[in-house]
Symmetry: C2
Subunit: 189 residues, 2 copies
DNA sequence: CGCCATAATGTTAGCCACTAACATTATGGA
DNA sequence: TCCATAATGTTAGTGGCTAACATTATGGCG
């Protein structure tokens, strides 16, 4: 209490403790084998408290607040491109701009998700907001809703596949992995 | 018992009863609002019996045995195409060949899935086998594993998006919807 | 037709994710 | 220091799902 530096509020501290405890337990003994009660105990709180911070167990891993960056990047792509290509190039640009220092934490999370079958669906569902955001951006710029839906889904799938590849690679940079993934689907366009 | 025609075995009858009861309840009151116990009761069996037929509630909707057809169709596409294009054209061909009479049941299922947020992820996860089959086919014909993974994921995402669109359209044919979806991602290739 | 191995189903008990309603304690600013 | 309010705890319950064991039904065989 004698520390004059901004001390993190209790809420921030509990959140950090839960995240750290969760990640470590998931890594040590697997996602399925780890109980929410266990995570809570390791973080010094109750099971109920966990659910006050995360709506579900899987949300400890999936929080991605990347939507605004992505949609902005897509908006900047030339409007005369086909929606699919436009979305792909936007995502490419957005991730190229991501600060490298942030990637270790992302890698920890993605690595767990990539290696837990039951989480693959969860990851996909968690992209729902991002997907919606992309669709709206594309439609706002003149694409038909149906076309936008397919384009968004397909490009996001490539992105997730790229993330999963990268998570297990150890040496490569995130931006590179994403670029490689998008190269696969942006053929001859 | 005096009927001389092949009578369905008890196992077949129970399975049919569960599927029909499930679909109807899901349609009437929603997937989340329907309990497994409820479905079982409507089918004249116990909750336990339900789980002897389906490993999980969602599997009543997601059973797709389409993998062999798909991989065969992909295998028939020219090998000098890029993997992504090859997969897309294979899927196109496979669904074009699907007998129209089968589609009403598919529509019932997809419609429920498309309108239940928690199931969107489940659908994606359920494509896991198909995804794996596609990857293996592409790799067997010379694609790199990484490229194959991205191509399979991306093309399947477009397929699912197409299915979801179609489910709520009422008038259009399944093959048409799939073609439209694949057109979006097969740009200028 | 009746016997019986075996398939199909039922029972009970329990774990875990998650929720609701209400009670308690801690925090940090006035 | 006091106190409104944020943070956490307690209890009780629902629904999906599993395991171990008990019971009943089915249908081919003698």
């Amino acid at each position: 209490m004698t520390d004059t530096r901004q001390r993190p509020s209790k809420r921030e501290r509990t959140l950090a403790a839960l995240v750290e405890a969760g990640l470590e337990l998931f890594e040590r003994q697997g996602y399925e084998q780890t109980t929410v009660a266990e995570i809570a105990r390791a973080a010094g709180v109750t099971e109920m408290t966990f659910f006050r911070y995360f709506p579900a167990k899987e949300h400890l891993l999936l929080d991605d607040p990347y939507d605004p960056v992505l949609t902005a990047a897509i908006a900047e792509q030339p409007r005369d491109l086909q929606p699919f290509v436009r979305a792909a190039r936007g995502i490419r640009a957005a991730w190229r701009a991501l600060p490298e220092p942030e990637t270790p934490v992302i890698r920890r999370r993605v690595r767990i998700a990539a290696n837990t079958p039951s989480l693959r669906g969860a990851v996909w569902r968690s992209t729902g907001n991002t997907e919606q955001a992309i669709i709206e951006q594309l439609v706002a710029d003149g694409a038909s809703p149906d076309v936008a839906r397919v384009a968004a889904a397909s490009v996001l799938a490539a992105l997730v596949a790229g993330l999963f590849m990268w998570a297990d690679e150890e040496r490569s940079t995130l931006a590179d992995a994403i670029e490689r993934a998008l190269d696969v689907i942006e053929v001859a366009a």
